[in-house]
Every structure is written in structure tokens, then in C-alpha cells.
């Protein structure tokens, strides 16, 4: 029986080998993202960033044509993500795996990257341990500790002494809470209380009231993107928390464009930490935002820039590796790569293969009658502090 299986396997491999010989001139990238389901908008933005990069820089690198093979995970589905990654490599002959909005999917696909020795670029998923799962993996997005530790430190150093934290009770939220509190306490601040809300929580008033009861200088909130940021913002205002007096701090999704529109003037004064916002004032970013709007008629967000910079890494690595597509060459080329992105200067840490970038602090202000995130501070060259403990 085993011989029969081996025979079959051998035949199949031989067939595959014949096919592979003809596919030398194209470099295929397996794009694995949640194109459908509740995270579809994030995938759309990331895909737009990728498309824009390819439009601006052409689809040929180091003599080979870049082809994208798109695969939908539909949401959190690590078994599916793993299968799609395997199929991309085995069936579609992809040399590179990219995309990955969600951490469980990225972790599952990283196993495939490690086993098949293929270069993998994570363009959004933000948990620290992802880069440790495969030696061929690089990340161009952000990590939760990177942003939140920085925000915590900044908050303590900028006049906030007592803070109450509220986060969603699941991986990324707990991660954010841990690192924010660490940054805040390390810089001398005091946590007066904390609470975690259920993941799919429609009503925040009870939690906001608890925050109010403990009389903090500021409130730190972490919720996933979608409906919750606006709901939290409104709950804060409805329970009488004035964001311009009791400071409200949060991470990127809290003041995303759609959230700001829903919250209205109640959002004024919210302080937010992010690696990117379309309002950043730099020539590189202004060009990027204009090109993005011309092409897609909407503003880019940090998902878009994760995809855009991810493609840049792919192109630059291929260029540096002289067109070689095996995992070892590409990851060696990617390590230490540095460039100017719309978000500011960024690089890939040669030791951890993770992103090193400027962390920006924003405040919601009214600019020309519209609510916008205006940059009020920044911390350059931030590495992922989460790696120190790994």
C-alpha cells in the first residue's frame, strides 16, 4: 500500500515538475485575504494599495512578470487559510504568499511558508508572534505592542496621570491593554481601573459608566473596527464624557473615517495612535493620497498602506535578489530593506523581520469644517517591543 502511495506521489510530482518548468517567466503571488464577509472592506483597501503600487511601478520586476492569484478566506478560518496557502504553492505554483488581514489565518499560513520555504509578506495582521512562525516571513504593517506601548508612554509623559482602560475581550484587545498599561506604568502613570467587553458588544453604556465612576484623567479604549468605534464614541458622549476634558485615547480604528462621520462633533478631542492616516502632512503621502483617490475615489487607510508597502517589499526584494524566487534569497534581500513610505520612513528589522517605523499620535480636530485626524506628535524608529520578551 505504501509503495502504491509513493508511486502515485511520484507520478504526481513528476507531472508537477513538468508543469513547473514552463512557468519560469512569471512570479506568482498568492494573495490570501478575507475578500468576503465582515472584513471584506479591509481586504478591499489592502487590495487597492497593491493595485495602485503595481499601476505606478509596472507589473514586471527583474525580468519577470508579476501575477496575482487571489484567494478568499471569508473571515477567520485558519484551516481554510492554510489550505489556500498550500494550494497556492502546490497548484498555482506561487512563489510568494502575501496579504493576511487576520492573525489566526496568518499564523496558519506561516506554517506553510516555513515548510515549503516560501517568502511570505504579512500586510496587516498585528500580533507579535506571527514573525516567529516562519523564517521566511516579513511584515510591513504594524504590531499592536508597537503602537500601544508608544501611546502609553506618550500619555504618561504628556500630563495624564490616572487612566481607565477598556478593551475588547479577545486576543488583539488584550494585547493592546497589556502593552498600553505597560507603557503607561513604565513611564510613571497609574491605572485606576480596567474592564473588558465581550467581543460582539452592541451597547457600551454600562462599561462607560464604570469608567466614569472611577474618575480618571483619561480613558483608553480599544475596539475592533466596524460598528464598534462609533458606538463607543457615542456611548462616551451620551454618558457625559467630554473628550476635550476627559481625554479619550485609542488606536487607529477608533477614529477611522466612517467612525468619525457617525460620531460627529462628539469625536472632537479624541487622541489616537496609528502608523498611518491619510491626513499625514508629507509630500510622499500627499502624492499617494491623490493617486489613491484618483484611482479608487476614496481615501486610503492603514490597510491600504500595508498593501502598498508590502508590494514595495516584494518588488525591492526581487530586484535585490536578481530575480531569484526561492525563500532564502528573498528573505535575505528583504532583511534590512529601508525606504520612504507614505507613512514616513520604514524598514524591515534584519533580526526579527518585523517592521520598524514611525509611530504617529493624532488628535481629532475640525479642519475646514470636516473632522480629521491631525498629527500632534510622533516617535520615530519604533521596533516591536513585543519581541523583547520572545
Amino acid at each position: 500500500m505504501q509503495r502504491l502511495l509513493c508511486g502515485l506521489a511520484g507520478c504526481a510530482l513528476a507531472l508537477l515538475g513538468v508543469e513547473a518548468a514552463n512557468a519560469q517567466d512569471a512570479v506568482k503571488i498568492g494573495l490570501i485575504m478575507p475578500y468576503s464577509g465582515q472584513f471584506a472592506d479591509t481586504a478591499a483597501q489592502m487590495d487597492n494599495g497593491i493595485k495602485l503600487y503595481m499601476k505606478q511601478h509596472g507589473d514586471t520586476v527583474a525580468g519577470a512578470k508579476i501575477e496575482l492569484v487571489r484567494k478568499d478566506t471569508g473571515g477567520i478560518a485558519p484551516d481554510l487559510a492554510k489550505r489556500l496557502a498550500q494550494e497556492a504553492i502546490v497548484r498555482d505554483h506561487a512563489d510568494i504568499l502575501a496579504g493576511f488581514v487576520l492573525t489566526p489565518n496568518a499564523l496558519a499560513a506561516a506554517d506553510v511558508s516555513a515548510e515549503a520555504k516560501k517568502f511570505m509578506v504579512v500586510m496587516n495582521a498585528a500580533t507579535s508572534i506571527i514573525t516567529t512562525k516562519s523564517p521566511y516571513l516579513a511584515r510591513t504593517s504594524l504590531t499592536t505592542p508597537q503602537l500601544n506601548y508608544t501611546l502609553g508612554t506618550w500619555a504618561a509623559k504628556n500630563g495624564i496621570r490616572k487612566i481607565y482602560t477598556m478593551v475588547s475581550d479577545y486576543g488583539p484587545g488584550i494585547d493592546a491593554e497589556t502593552w498600553f498599561q505597560k507603557g503607561f506604568k513604565d513611564a510613571g502613570g497609574e491605572i485606576v481601573g480596567s474592564v473588558r467587553f465581550p467581543v460582539a458588544n452592541p451597547d457600551f453604556s454600562a462599561f462607560v459608566q464604570r469608567a466614569k465612576d472611577s474618575n480618571p484623567d483619561a480613558i483608553y479604549v480599544w475596539v475592533p473596527g466596524g460598528a464598534q468605534p462609533a458606538a463607543v464614541g457615542k456611548a462616551l458622549a451620551e454618558r457625559g464624557i467630554d473628550a476635550s476634558r476627559t481625554k479619550v485615547l485609542g488606536q487607529d480604528a477608533l477614529t477611522a473615517e466612517s467612525a468619525l462621520k457617525s460620531m460627529g462633533d462628539q469625536a472632537l478631542g479624541i487622541i489616537m495612535v496609528a502608523n498611518y492616516d491619510y491626513n499625514l502632512d508629507s509630500p510622499t503621502n500627499k502624492d499617494f493620497v491623490k493617486a489613491y483617490n484618483d484611482e479608487f475615489h476614496r481615501n486610503p487607510d492603514f490597510f491600504s498602506v500595508g498593501g502598498y508597502d508590502g508590494m514595495h517589499l516584494v518588488y525591492a526584494a526581487l530586484q535585490k535578489a536578481g530575480g531569484k524566487t526561492d525563500g532564502d534569497s528573498l528573505i535575505a534581500a528583504a532583511k534590512g530593506m529601508a525606504w520612504e513610505s507614505p507613512r514616513g520612513p520604514m524598514s524591515i528589522d534584519p533580526e526579527t523581520r518585523d517592521v520598524v517605523q514611525t509611530v504617529h499620535i493624532f488628535k481629532v480636530e475640525k479642519v475646514g469644517g470636516e473632522l480629521r485626524n491631525v498629527e500632534i506628535d510622533k516617535v520615530p524608529n519604533v521596533k516591536d517591543p513585543g519581541h523583547k520578551t520572545n
Binding site: A9, S36, A44, K71, G75, D79, R83, E87, R91, A108
Partner: protein, 329 residues
């Protein structure tokens, strides 16, 4: 179900228990992917796992009339058990499978006491509640389950020390298929036994069964425990072949998917569930490949079309077709 002359229930059962050529052809056809579609073995292994999961739901829904919106609880429990056992150092797949089955079966046994006491909407809501509660518990116990990120560190040892789980999926499909077939044999035997007849009686008219003295509650508890165990085994195979487990194995989406697959194929026929699993999983894969963003739309249309045209599911439609061709010839 056509039977010519009924010379007594035991004879009827014996007639049905004989293997028809269509069944044999079906099981031989499941070996075809090895030769004809080696690129699709990973998909095939997940179809086999789904088929096993649907089989377990068929036993309680199709045969005993218990509608469950939370059957993924047992699937997920089996998956996490197998994953945790592997993570803690024991990666042998077959024993891991048994342990997962026992744990899921035990939980099935405990919950069967509640389940057996209710019918209709209250039962649906209770099963839904069980599934949702278990998922919340798994999220909270992230020290055990890995929480949102999923369980890390699962490594499945090669089967019998020789068949290692490869990138192409040969071992995965072989393993999943073998488990499916063996359990199917058991399920087939069970449903074509007096116990199986009793279950169908309970499904069709529980009061009458009680009136003739059948221990309905005990029967329901038995089949529910068995179904829980099988669902757990399916979950374990998933965990072992993909080496990933995350919270969605316990989720409402999975419970809803398996219900859809069963109704699509036709409940109460065993093969209906298998057919439903194959059609749904393959259609989903194809539609999603063609149109990553809106494949939901086509699946929805498929479901509506099937219900409008084939009231007994795909399998019902198939058997109607074969009956018509037989009558015509």
C-alpha cells in the same frame, strides 16, 4: 423507502442492509481524487471532514428529529482536545482521535439530559445557547485554548510512524477518508437496526412511541452521545490534518453551515448528508475562486433553487430520478 413485501421488520431491515451497487460505486469513487485530481486532495480532505460532521448531525436530526443549531460545540470540543493533547506532547493521531471522541462524547452525554427534555423551538434555542456558551468559555480560557489567535504548537506525528502529513495532502485525505468510511459503516449498521427504527419512530411521533412503551428519552440520550462523539472525531481530524484550531470551530457559522449541508443533501438518508457536504463544499470553493467577494450570492441562489425544486434535498431528488428511470425502463 421502497420495500416490496414486508415479511416482518427484521427481514425488511436485512433487505435494506444489503449493499447496493450504487453504494459500492460511491465509495470506490471517493478514491478517484488520488489519481484524477491530486491537486485537490486538501480540498477533498476537508470535504471528508465536513461529511463526517454532517453524518453526526444526520443521526440526531434526520433520524431522531433533534434540530440542533449548536452542533459545532462537539466538533470544536473534539478539535480542541486533539489539539491540546498534541500541544502537550502526545501527537500520535489515532489515540488523539480516540481521546477527542471520548471527551466530546462525554460532553454530549451530559448535555443530552437537557436536550432530551425539549422539542422544537426551545430545543433549537438551547442547542444554540450551548454552542455560544462554549465558544465564550473557550475565548475566556485563552491560557488553554490560545484564545483568538488559535492553538499554537500542534504537531501531528506520522500515522503508524510512516505516513507523514505532507504538503500535497495525500496522507490527510487518506486519513480523513478512512475515518469517514469506518464510522459510516458503524452508522449504517446502527440506523438499519431496530434501534434505528425506534429513532425514526421518535422523530415521526414521539408520543406514540412513548405510548407503546419505548424508552424515548434514553434513546435520544444514546444517539445524542454517539453523535457528539462522531462530531468530536471529525473536529479532531480537522485539528490533526491542518494543525490549526481556532475559536470558529465552535462558532455559530459552523453550526449553521453543517445544518445547511445536511438539509441541502437530504436528511435521514445518511448518503444525503454526504452528498450535501460534497456539493456545498465544492460549490463554495468554486464560487469563491470565481468571485471572491460575492460568492455568497450564488450559494444563496443555489439553496433557494434546491429547496424550490427538490423538496427532499439533493438525495431525495436523485432517488426520485432513479425511481423514474427504473419505472420508465
Amino acid at each position: 423507502m421502497t420495500t416490496a413485501t414486508i415479511a416482518g421488520p427484521h427481514d425488511a431491515l436485512q433487505t435494506q442492509a444489503r449493499w447496493q451497487w450504487a453504494e459500492i460505486a460511491f465509495w470506490l469513487a471517493t478514491l478517484l481524487p488520488f489519481i484524477l485530481a491530486p491537486d485537490y486532495l486538501l480540498l477533498a480532505s476537508q470535504v471528508a471532514i465536513a461529511a463526517l460532521f454532517v453524518l453526526s448531525l444526520d443521526l440526531i436530526l434526520g433520524f431522531a428529529g433533534i434540530v440542533s443549531l449548536g452542533h459545532a460545540a462537539y466538533f470544536g470540543l473534539g478539535a480542541y482536545t486533539a489539539g491540546i493533547v498534541s500541544k502537550w506532547g502526545w501527537g500520535e493521531p489515532l489515540t488523539g482521535l480516540l481521546i477527542a471522541g471520548l471527551v466530546a462524547g462525554a460532553f454530549g452525554y451530559l448535555t443530552s439530559f437537557i436536550v432530551a427534555r425539549f422539542r422544537h423551538l426551545p430545543l433549537i434555542m438551547i442547542t444554540l445557547g450551548i454552542g455560544l456558551l462554549l465558544q465564550e468559555a473557550a475565548n475566556s480560557a485563552s491560557w488553554l485554548t490560545g484564545g483568538f489567535d488559535g492553538l499554537q504548537g500542534i504537531h501531528t506525528w506520522p500515522i503508524a510512524g510512516k505516513f507523514h502529513f505532507d504538503l500535497y495532502g495525500y496522507t490527510a485525505y487518506g486519513y480523513a477518508l478512512a475515518v469517514l468510511f469506518l464510522i459510516f459503516l458503524g452508522a449504517r449498521r446502527l440506523t438499519l437496526s431496530p434501534f434505528g427504527l425506534a429513532l425514526r419512530g421518535i422523530r415521526d411521533n414521539g408520543e406514540r412511541m412513548r405510548a407503546i412503551g419505548a424508552p424515548t428519552r434514553s434513546h435520544i440520550r444514546t444517539i445524542y452521545t454517539i453523535a457528539g462523539m462522531i462530531a468530536g472525531i471529525a473536529g479532531a481530524v480537522l485539528a490533526q490534518t491542518t494543525e490549526t484550531v481556532s475559536l470558529e470551530v465552535l462558532g455559530f457559522q459552523r453550526s449553521a453551515d453543517v445544518l445547511v449541508m445536511l438539509i441541502l443533501g437530504g436528511a435521514g438518508r445518511l448518503y444525503g448528508g454526504l452528498l450535501g457536504a460534497i456539493v456545498y463544499m465544492v460549490a463554495r470553493d468554486r464560487f469563491s475562486g470565481l468571485n471572491p467577494q460575492y460568492w455568497y450570492f450564488w450559494i444563496g441562489l443555489l439553496l433557494i433553487a434546491v429547496v424550490l425544486v427538490l423538496p427532499n434535498g439533493l438525495f431525495g431528488g436523485l432517488s426520485l430520478l432513479t425511481r423514474r428511470t427504473k419505472a420508465a425502463s
